[in-house]
């Protein structure tokens, strides 16, 4: 099992202790995970993600289990070249941040990027949020990723696996049930921000949406890596053998 929702690097709105790749590698080992798709956290807030991508590839080079998931901004000139370069350098997934870029739900650039990711056989990873809305810095005005933004991309999608990280039950249900069965088959959600008991929203979603639509994710270094493990450990008995999708086999 791999962590689809991990980053390295600092966060602009609060201090994060030790967001370094060597620490992440140790955390993954402690949590019993085989590896991670790793993004460069500061890049989510850069206008031009290229320098952050370079930093990411360089920083992860000594760590075989940390797979770079660079950021490609589809409204930036030359993004096709950036995508090709990322794929050539071994990226299994591409991260996107439409709210941070000011891209609306129907922006055609996101659909173009999604199609290109399918051609290149890399996954497209959205991040619904980095922090709880209630605790955000007053300068952090981007807002959460809307379900509509994911649906718009998923409805034009033929072959790209889409992963939505850090979404809660409401967004997940709105995306999933707002798609046709064929469209849903390519959309996955990480479990890092879904509530366990007593609300038992993870258990509910595993039953309604299906375990095969979910992947493991932690939200490290912003969030405690133990959280998804705790959530799985607290599933009701009838779900204790549940198997999530495994992106390492994609």
């Amino acid at each position: 099992m791999i962590d689809t929702n991990a980053y390295i690097g600092g966060y602009p709105f609060r201090h994060i202790p030790h967001p370094e790749p060597a620490i992440l590698a140790r955390v993954l080992e402690r949590e019993g995970l085989d590896g991670a798709w790793v993004g460069h956290l500061p890049s989510a807030f850069y206008r031009d993600p290229a320098p952050g991508n370079d930093e990411l590839f360089t920083a992860l080079e000594p760590h075989a289990t940390l797979r770079p998931a660079p950021c490609i901004r589809p409204d930036w000139p030359g993004w096709e070249r950036a995508l090709a370069s990322a794929v050539e350098r071994g990226a299994p997934a591409i991260r996107v941040y439409p709210p941070q870029w000011g891209l609306g739900a129907d922006d055609p650039a996101m659909r173009s990027l999604c199609a290109a990711c399918g051609e290149a056989e890399v996954a497209l990873v959205f991040t619904a949020r980095f922090e709880d809305l209630r605790q955000r810095h007053w300068m952090d005005q981007a807002g959460d990723l809307s379900a509509a933004a994911v649906r718009a991309v998923a409805r034009s999608n033929q072959r790209t696996r889409i992963v939505v990280c850090s979404a809660g039950r409401g967004t997940i249900e709105e995306v999933h049930w707002g798609l046709t069965p064929a469209e849903r088959d390519l959309v996955f959600f990480d479990i890092s921000w879904i509530w366990g008991p007593p609300e038992d929203e993870l258990a509910l979603l595993l039953g309604t949406v299906g375990a095969g639509r979910f992947v493991y994710g932690t939200g490290w270094p912003l969030r405690l890596a133990q959280t998804p493990r705790a959530n799985l450990a607290l599933l009701p008995d009838e779900l204790k053998d549940v198997k999530l999708a495994d992106p390492s086999s994609w």
Binding site: W195, L224, L234
Partner: protein, 307 residues
Amino acid sequence: MAMAAPLAGPGPLIDVHAHFFFEGCGRAEWDALNRARFRAGDRIGISIHVASILGSWGRFSPTYFASPADTTRGNDAMQAIAQRHPDRVRWYVAVNPNDTAFALAEIDRRVAAGAIGVKLAAGRRADDSLLDPIAERAADGGLPVLHHIWQHRRRHWPGQDASDGADLARLAARHPTVSFILAHIGGGGDYRHTYAAVRNVPNIYLDLSGSGVDRGMLDDAYAAVGAKRLLWGADITLCTGLAKLWALEVIGLTTEEMADVRWRNAERIFPTGTLGSSGEGGSGMRDEGTPHHSPHPASPIPHPAND
């Protein structure tokens, strides 16, 4: 059938910030929620849920501005749950300080019926003088006060008169013999502001509950107030509570410090014997002047692993 080892490891574990629901409250699935708390609590290894019910959870009056009728309704339900589960449930009497005379009478009545603490939510800002008579009642009874807190209140939040750590620190300074539990440092906002606000206020304890699982939050809490002023709790997300227990072990608390956070600090601040293994619930009242920090036996809490 043998019980699985508790996910939180062996030893007593007190959740100082729990909630239950009841038929007729704002949640149709109230019974499933209560059963899920017990199921997950057993799995985690929670010895005692110290819980409250905030009125009708919004059905008949706002959760944070509960009417006297709703306050009564919620406390009735909480009392009944505690009486049905004397082995694992203790409770706070929840009051709205705006109805001051009613709140004081409700505290007296419910403490006589077994409540062991006072729950204040967000009906009035923590440093408001309306809270003084309630804090004095808590001092008289040796009752801790669990206060809902927002981290660094910089604006009005709808549905509540939220207080932050600085507000609670002013109340705590006026009532130095009362133990105040600052609710859910994982409950939203800038927890680092809280640490700065309460670091030097020794009668404020931080409960670790809440959905927030920011890395650095626990390390900073430990650095700010030390293990003797941390209390474990879950609030309405037991999954994050378990994750935080596991994280505390990773950040390097000693076995003794873990015991403090898991149960010993709670036992120090709640009325003597009320969290013990007798299962009697107790009156919760101490004679005036009895120190809050009472001697405690080594491991008096009933625990699934010990059954």
